[in-house]
Symmetry: D2
Subunit: 114 residues, 4 copies
């Protein structure tokens, strides 16, 4: 039988995969970054056991990429966001974080606590 | 050669398909409906020639579906939203609208004006 | 520090959330079910530590829903699929499964083995 | 009242926006490119008035981007695909095409014929 902590970590992973693949590809610009970040947080906080989601769209990185482009907006991808999330499952609290590591958006367990 | 009006209608269709398939499946509840609607509007307004987007999430319909369900949230689908959009392309303004028609979310041209 | 087993479970959750939210909303009919299932498997097997993905689209349930509808296709959602996935992370193998439980597509840890 | 040709062009646009935003962000590698292309074609061909969809994933461009990356797969985006689509609406046939133009995936009307 999987332990409570293992299940809590599984739940935390589900939220991260959901957030990323639901919203990857969304048209985003410095002007629309804020409403997108709020919607991502509120949408994923609906999911079971999700205590809090904090999405930070990296507006400076986005603006600098658009300055070198013929496009006025980009498609949302891991390069343009940092995410922190806390899941609580039967008394175990799991903290997770996403940031770029080389060319991968790395999703990491930060801590697992009873 | 396609006419300006035909191209304007093509552009209007692109925006509708984008909005629908980017956001279909997003976890949504009465509490998160508003931030999702704002993000959908702002995201699609980034796209070329898109003058305005108005998304209305049908919170009463959503609440009544959730009342009959073991779930606390639903996945966004056409049944839970009405959308109006205006595209302007080289002087032609196209108004469009989405609402349910039987079991299809019907996307319609409302008017095409020089 | 999270344990290897906890990290393996987190990785397994990421794959499930990714699969679900990337493909939820895809137009699907009995005719296109098979190519969609193969693409879902192959896409998620690209992700790190993902050993195998098996997607079964429930064509009979889909056909029976379409028989009662004015639509010729549906949007993919949890009601129309069962998924099994195996993740292997630093020697720990995690088996997971998704099937409906009431109105939720429940994603479950089946086993965690060294 | 919008003309038949204008409605046909609107329908063609819907299919393009749907295809792009349903599948943008999907993990893709040279190995999984083919099943993804087939699933995209079959999924969008379900939509009303859609006669044919042809998706070509640019495997050489994808392989060359991955050769410069620490990642083994990419997220699907316009840079990695060319798409041709034909819509038929009440006797009007619309041919469309997507390819990159600078940094935008440009979706174009090729022809509109009675």
């Amino acid at each position: 039988m999987p332990s409570t902590a293992e299940t809590a970590c599984f739940e935390a992973g589900i939220k991260f995969g959901s957030l990323y693949h639901q919203f990857a590809g969304t048209p985003v610009s410095p002007v629309s970054a804020d409403s997108l970040a709020r919607a991502m947080e509120d949408a994923i906080e609906n999911q079971p056991h999700c205590e809090s989601v904090d999405v930070d769209i990296l507006v400076d990185d986005l603006a600098s990429e658009l300055a070198d482009s013929t496009a006025d907006y980009a498609e949302l991808t891991g390069r343009f966001m940092e995410v922190e999330m806390t899941v609580e499952y039967e008394g175990t609290r799991v903290r997770t974080r996403m940031e770029m590591e080389g060319d991968y958006p790395a999703m990491r367990l930060v801590s697992v606590e009873d």
